[in-house]
Amino acid sequence: MISKKELALIVLILVVGTVTYSLNPRFLSAVNIINMANLTGLFGIFAIGVGLVIISGGIDLSVGSMFALLGVVFLDLFANVGLHWTVALPVAVGLGLLLGLIHGLLVTKAGLQPFVVTLCGLLIYRGIARYYTSDSTMGFGYGTDDATLRWLMSGRTFDVPHTFIAFLIIAAIMAIVLHGSVYGRHLFATGKNEEAARYSGINTARVVTTTYVISGGLAGLASVFIVFYTNSVSPSSHGNFYELYAIAAAVLGGCSLRGGEGSILGIMLGTILLQILQNLVNLLGIPSSLNFAVMGSVILLGVLADQELTRRRKRSLAAVGVKA
C-alpha cells in the first residue's frame, strides 16, 4: 500500500529526474545510475535506522561520528592487527549495537532527552576517533586487503552495487518488521502516545531502546561499507554531517519528528531524492558549494507542502466530525 505522501515523493523524483535528464542526458547513463545507486545504498542503510528512532519520537545525531570511530576501529583491527574480516566486521557491527544500546538506556532508564544523549555521542565518538589515530588518516596499507570482503562491500552483481542490494534487503526486512509485526505496531503506538501504550501493557522502554540498538547496528554495518567506499578514514572529517542526511531523508520521507509517523518506503524515497538532488547539482554545473542550500530548500518546500496537505485533510475531517 502506497500512501499519498509516498506517491507525491515518487512524482517529485520523476519530475526532478526528467528535468535533470533533459538538461543533461548523462543523468541516465549507466555510470551515473550505478554511482547514484551506490550512494543511495550507502546512505539508505543507516537512514532506515535513524528513521526508526525518529518514529519512536527520538532522534539520533550520533551516526556520523560513529562512522569515524567504528571506521578507524575496523581499519585498525583489520589492517594493523590483522584480524580476519569475519571477526573485524562483526566487531564493528557489535560496537554499533552496543553504542545504540547505551543511547537507548540513557534515554529510557536515565530519562535523558534523545537529542542531548546523541549529541554527546556525536562529540564523544568524534573525539575518541581523532585521539585514537592521533588525528591522522588511516588507510588499508599494503597487502592487507581481502578480495572477498572488498567484493562484498564495494563490488557489483549484474552491475548492481552491493551497497544497493544490502540496502534493499535491509529495507525489505525492516518494512516487514515495521508494518507487519507486533513490534512495529508497538513502535507506532509508543511514538504516537507513549502514555497510552504503557497503559496498554506495552514495555515502551524496551520498544524505544530497540530502535537505538537497530540504528546503532545499521550504523555499524554502514561504517564498514563507507570505509570501502572512501578507502581511508580521516577521523576529523569522515562522516561529517551524515546524521543530518539521514534525518533529512527520513523527514522528507514522511517521518514526523513528533514521532509515530513514517514508513520504510518513505525513508527509501527520501534517500533517493536526496541523492538525485546531489547529482543534479553536479550534473547541471551548479557550484557544489550550493549543495547544502539546494538540499535544504527542497526539504523546506516539501515540509511546507506536506503541512498544507495535512491542514486540508484536517479541515475535511473536521467537517465530517460536525456531522457525526
Partner: protein
C-alpha cells in the same frame, strides 16, 4: 433586570450539516443560566458564535442595544464576554500575575513590564475570589481548582460582564465544586452574567436561575427556577423519558476474590491500605481529588508499583510491577485521562482494540490482519461503537464512543477485575446510561469492578458498596443500606472515621 445580551434566530450551517438552527438566547446582568444538552447538541458552537470564533450563517446579536450580524473576537472581548474553558489555557512556567495579564501586560515608561502595577491589580482580583495564593505563585504549583479560579480572575481583569464556564467542575472534587459555586454566586451579586455549561445536573439545580436546553442544534426548552429538576432536564436533553440511568444488579456479590492487604502506594508512603473486592460487585471508590484513589488504581495496574503489602487474586499472591503483570492476571484499567492514557488518538479503532493483546493475533511475530479485523468488528458491534467502520481514527469519535473503545480493548481479553477511573467524565447522559449498563453486565458476569468517581450521584447510583478514601487511607466502607451523599462526604473529608471492616 437589564438584558445584557440577546441572540435572535442564530443559525450556523456547515456544508451538509446544520449545527445551529434558529436559536434564540438572552441573558441579563447578574443572571446565571444553565446551558445543557448532550454532546454535539450545539452548546459549544453557540458559545463560539458569542466569542467571535464562529460566524453565524443567520441571525442577529444585540449587546447593550447595538445589533451585530457577527462578532469578531476583539468585539466580543470589548463587550466584556469572557470564557473559562474546560481545558485551561495557562502558562505553567509563569506566575499568577503574569498569567492574568498575559498579552496585555501594563508597561512602564521605559516600555518594560510594570511588575508592581501588575502585582497590585492581581492581588485585588485574587482578594475578590478569596483564593489561598498570591500574585507571585507559579501556576505549576496550583491545583486544577486553583487554576480555574485564576481563569476567573483573568476574566474579571478584562472587566468581564458575561463569563461562559464550559464544564468548569469536570475535574474538581466535591468541596472544590462548592467553592466554585460560591464564587459564581458572588460574581452574580456583582452583576456579572454567567452561562454555566455542565453535564452535572445537580450543579445546575443548585446554581441556575434558568435553564436553556439545546438538542440537535435547536432550543429544546426552557425551565424557570422553580421548574428545574433532574427529570425535567434529562427529558429535555434526550427528548424522551430515560427509564433509569442505573441498571440494578441481577446477582448479589459472591465471594471475596481480590484482596489488598497493607498495600503502600508510592504517593502515600506512610499509609497502608486494606481493601477487598468481591466477584460480581461494583465497588465505588469515592473521595476528594488527591485522596489517593488514582494512585491506588495505578498501583494495582502496575504503573506505579506498590512499595509494600500484598495483593492476592483468588487466593494466589500476585506480584504487579508493571502493567503487563496486571494484564496477564486479568486486571485492567480504564484510566481517568482517556485521551492521554486510554487510547492512541491518531490510530484506528482496530489498532486501539487489539493493542494490548497483539501477540494473540500474531504468528512468528507478524500480525495476521484477518483475525484482528474480525475481533474488532465483533467488539464494535457488541459495544455499539458509533463509527463508520473499524478503520475510523479514534480522534473523530465522541467521548462516549472513545470510552467504549477503551472498554473494547479489555473486554475481548476475559477481564477478572476492571478498574474504571472516572468512567463518565465528559460523557453525555445517553452514553452514560450505556456505560453503566455495560459495567453492570460485566459485574453480573462475575467480573469485579472498582469504580473511582468524583460524581456523588454516580457513586451512589451505580455502586454495590462504597469505599471512601481520605488522605491516602480508606476512611470508611459503606454498604448499600448506608448510602447517602452526606455519609460519603463526611468520610471523604475525614469526619467520624471508621476503619474498614
Amino acid at each position: 433586570m437589564a438584558i445584557f445580551l440577546s441572540m435572535q434566530g442564530i443559525s450556523k450551517s456547515y456544508p451538509g450539516v446544520t449545527a445551529l438552527k434558529d436559536v434564540s438566547f438572552e441573558i441579563a446582568a447578574g443572571e446565571v443560566v444553565g446551558l445543557i444538552g448532550e454532546n454535539g447538541a450545539g452548546k459549544s458552537t453557540l458559545m463560539k458564535v458569542l466569542g467571535g470564533v464562529v460566524a453565524p450563517s443567520a441571525g442577529t446579536m444585540v449587546i447593550d442595544g447595538a445589533a451585530h450580524d457577527r462578532l469578531t473576537v476583539r468585539q466580543s472581548q470589548a463587550a466584556g464576554i469572557a470564557f473559562v474553558h474546560q481545558e485551561l489555557n495557562l502558562f505553567e512556567n509563569i506566575d499568577v500575575a503574569g498569567n492574568i495579564f498575559a498579552g496585555r501586560e501594563p508597561r512602564t515608561r521605559l516600555g518594560l513590564i510594570d511588575r508592581a502595577g501588575m502585582r497590585r491589580e492581581a492581588a485585588q482580583l485574587l482578594e475578590i475570589l478569596r483564593v489561598p495564593y498570591g500574585p507571585d505563585t507559579l501556576v505549576e504549583c496550583l491545583s486544577i481548582a486553583e487554576r480555574q479560579m485564576l481563569e476567573i480572575a483573568k476574566a474579571l481583569s478584562m472587566k468581564a460582564r458575561l463569563i461562559i464556564m464550559d464544564e468548569p467542575t469536570s475535574s474538581l472534587s466535591l468541596n472544590e465544586t462548592d467553592c466554585l459555586l460560591t464564587v459564581v454566586r458572588n460574581l452574580q451579586e456583582r452583576g456579572v452574567a454567567i452561562v454555566f455549561i455542565t453535564h452535572r445536573l445537580s450543579e445546575v439545580r443548585a446554581i441556575a436561575d434558568r435553564v436553556v436546553c439545546l438538542r440537535d442544534g435547536q432550543v429544546a426548552g426552557h425551565l424557570a427556577r422553580a421548574e428545574i429538576s433532574q427529570d425535567a432536564m434529562v427529558r429535555m436533553m434526550i427528548g424522551r423519558d430515560l427509564q433509569s440511568l442505573y441498571t440494578p444488579p441481577k446477582v448479589t456479590a459472591a465471594v471475596d476474590f481480590l484482596v489488598l492487604s497493607e498495600i503502600v502506594t508510592p504517593a502515600f508512603p506512610h499509609c497502608q491500605l486494606d481493601l477487598t473486592l468481591r466477584t460480581g460487585e461494583i465497588l465505588g471508590l469515592a473521595g476528594l481529588v488527591g485522596s489517593g484513589r488514582t494512585s491506588l488504581a495505578n498501583t494495582l495496574f502496575g504503573i506505579t508499583p506498590a512499595v509494600g503489602g500484598k495483593i492476592t487474586l483468588e487466593g494466589t499472591p500476585l506480584s504487579v510491577t508493571r502493567p503487563a503483570d496486571a494484564i496477564r492476571a486479568g486486571i485492567y484499567l480504564a484510566p481517568e485521562d482517556r485521551k492521554r492514557a486510554g487510547i492512541v488518538l491518531e490510530m484506528t479503532i482496530r489498532e486501539n482494540i487489539t493493542l494490548p493483546n497483539l501477540p494473540a493475533f500474531a504468528r512468528y511475530g507478524l500480525i495476521r490482519r484477518g483475525p484482528e479485523r474480525d475481533l474488532s468488528e465483533q467488539q464494535k458491534t457488541a459495544l455499539r461503537i458509533k463509527a463508520p467502520g473499524i478503520e475510523t481514527s479514534v480522534v473523530t469519535l465522541s467521548g462516549g464512543n472513545q470510552q467504549k473503545v477503551v472498554l473494547a480493548k479489555w473486554l475481548s481479553m476475559r477481564p477478572r477485575v476492571i478498574i474504571f477511573d472516572e468512567p463518565t467524565r465528559g460523557i453525555d447522559v445517553g452514553a452514560k446510561a450505556e456505560i453503566y449498563a455495560l459495567m453492570r453486565e460485566l459485574a453480573d458476569g462475575g467480573t469485579g469492578i472498582l469504580m473511582i468517581s468524583s460524581d456523588l450521584e454516580e457513586v451512589i447510583g451505580v455502586s454495590d458498596r462504597i469505599a471512601v478514601m481520605h488522605e491516602g487511607r480508606i476512611s470508611g466502607l459503606l454498604e448499600r443500606a448506608a448510602f447517602s451523599e452526606d455519609a460519603v462526604m463526611r468520610l471523604a473529608v475525614g469526619l467520624n472515621e471508621r476503619h474498614a471492616a
